[in-house]
């Protein structure tokens, strides 16, 4: 009888020694986004083109502000990991490292900018 599960045997393995961690993070963020994105699409789509006052009123609501913040953080972390896999497939060496750094920096910059805007709008 095997006492180790498939997942346990993959922990700490692979070239990055992070095992199935990356894949697991993608699953967790995917499930979270599956719940949040449709609601966000509905709210954002209705606010877009509704004018300054109406858009401000929408994004001042605590639920909308919190949801948008979560979509930004979880969505961009999901994007970052997905884009990284793409870069690992098509590039190598220093180019790969620099592009991954660029994607990581870009994702956090967009997250910070979005959260700053939300804080300024909602508070």
């Amino acid at each position: 009888m095997r006492y180790l599960t498939d997942r346990k045997r993959a922990v700490g393995k692979g070239s990055a020694h992070s095992g199935a961690e990356h894949h697991w993070h993608m699953i967790v963020s995917a499930v979270a986004l599956a719940f949040m994105v449709p609601t966000f699409l509905f709210i954002f789509g209705n606010a877009l083109g509704s004018g300054y006052e109406a858009a401000l009123a929408t994004f001042q609501k605590p639920f909308v502000a919190i949801l948008t913040g979560l979509v930004l953080v979880v969505g961009l972390q999901h994007f970052q990991k997905g884009a990284r896999v793409m870069l690992e497939d098509y590039t190598s060496g220093t180019t790969r490292k620099l592009l991954i750094m660029l994607v990581v920096g870009l994702c956090w910059s967009l997250t910070a900018a979005g959260l700053f805007a939300l804080a300024k709008i909602a508070l």
């Binding site: 954002f44 858009a55 870009l106 979005g114």
Partner: protein, 131 residues
């Protein structure tokens, strides 16, 4: 030595062209990657829109003008289809990860569900926005 060990191995979809026949399963998977990565354009526009909303009426008017111009509308419409496609393909990925629906007929059916489903969901979303 190497000659003798040569065996039939599966081809990579990157050999597309004379060596690799496009299949629904591989093409719908590649489309997942394309739509996912293309989403960064919509994120840029949304973050810009939020920053403009925080900055005041003048900045907001500029951002809104660009995003709801015909170019902006086209980008947003394509992004809407992209996110719905990526959404359905992501759900399919979760099903595959669970070890289910991996036989070819079912996998291909799920590929068509992603393609037709994303078009239907995009049209439905646009209709909801209009109401």
């Amino acid at each position: 030595m190497a000659e003798e060990n040569r065996i039939q191995r599966p081809l990579s979809p990157f050999m597309i062209g004379p060596y690799y026949r496009p299949q629904l399963t591989s093409m719908s998977s590649i489309l997942t990657r394309i739509t996912g990565n293309a989403m960064i354009v919509a994120v840029f526009l949304i973050v810009w829109w939020l920053l403009a909303l925080a900055a005041g009426p003048e900045a907001f008017a500029t951002a809104e003008w660009w995003i709801t111009s015909w170019v902006g509308n086209l980008v947003m419409f394509l992004s809407l289809w992209g996110i719905w496609y990526h959404y359905l393909a992501g759900l399919r990925h979760l099903i595959f990860d669970a070890g289910k629906c991996l036989d070819i007929p079912t996998a291909e059916k799920l590929g068509w569900v992603c393609i037709y489903g994303s078009v239907v969901l995009t049209i439905l979303t646009v209709i909801i926005y209009w109401i």
